[in-house]
Symmetry: C2
Subunit: 207 residues, 2 copies
Amino acid sequence: MGSVVKLHGLPMSTNTARVIAVLNEKGVDFELVPVDLSPFGQVPVLEDGDLKLFESRAISKYLAEKHSDAGADLLLRRGGRSLAESATVELWVEVESKHFDPAISPLLYEAVVKPVLGQATDEAVVEAKAAELEKVLDVYEERLGKAKYLAGDHYTLADLHHQPYLFYLMKTAKAELVESRPRVLAWWNDISARAPWLKTAEGMKFP
Amino acid sequence: MGSVVKLHGLPMSTNTARVIAVLNEKGVDFELVPVDLSPFGQVPVLEDGDLKLFESRAISKYLAEKHSDAGADLLLRRGGRSLAESATVELWVEVESKHFDPAISPLLYEAVVKPVLGQATDEAVVEAKAAELEKVLDVYEERLGKAKYLAGDHYTLADLHHQPYLFYLMKTAKAELVESRPRVLAWWNDISARAPWLKTAEGMKFP
């Protein structure tokens, strides 16, 4: 029996949930440890034997590759797939990181995290970031008219990386940004119904 | 003879230069076309046969993998390498994208781009972003005490992705952020002296 993977993080943190979602998708046992070890003072940090990794998106790619045969083919790298297919996964993983994240992360901080901390939401920030997010979701609405998932016909890491943020967004008044875009809504309904995701979402409760 | 790769972009754009640097490292012929095709209204966009990709970091990974045997082993995926090694490349690629880029990109916009456009530099933004950049470079200074390059003993995509931004930073008063950190400075002097990079840097001139 190999050593159990240790994940330092908090299950309600979107960055931690991104990694937990891959662990659940791949059926990998892990131990959750609420300690911060990254040089940037952030969770999650993964320990797998001697390897220590930080940055949630780098961790999730590592896990998706290490456990490539389990669960969904998250990187489209299994036999028979082309480099164009895996490059398309990487493209939409980048879009999440460089366009979706910078819009939705501060929006959720204002609308979800600050109330939990007993602080007042800055509605001007919410509206400004919602406007940015609309532009990104317009691109997704068009993309999802050409393909069932962001990277093509299959559920991949590109879809999964959006789930922790969208899970919280759908609990706010700004859920309308998704609900008003039929293809984005159908995509969210599909990916959020996956059994491994339901397991991840169970842990995403604020204290 | 295969069709020539088309790169839509501008050689003085840091995002375009990131891709050109990989093309030069790998010795790949390409045609530069100054047209914008991405759904987010940004360059670069790569056309390789039927495949069209945007997002500079996704393009550079695709090229590094497609031409894995040419030039430097940018992803540490050649035979004999471990998954831990390539995952470490991905980790530092993520650090550039999520920590270094958000600090240095607005700094350079203020200090380099605005003067070219005839606009006034906002010194308060320069100082705020310089303070953020210092924290990132402190992490690099420590990391480069343990390894010659960000991902370990070898020059990889993680180093390359920093070069377009650092090239411009070193032409500003904020070059001191690099010059005051001996290991970061030695790293920059090493990577900026590579022949493929010198070819890329030739095109990085504002009109």
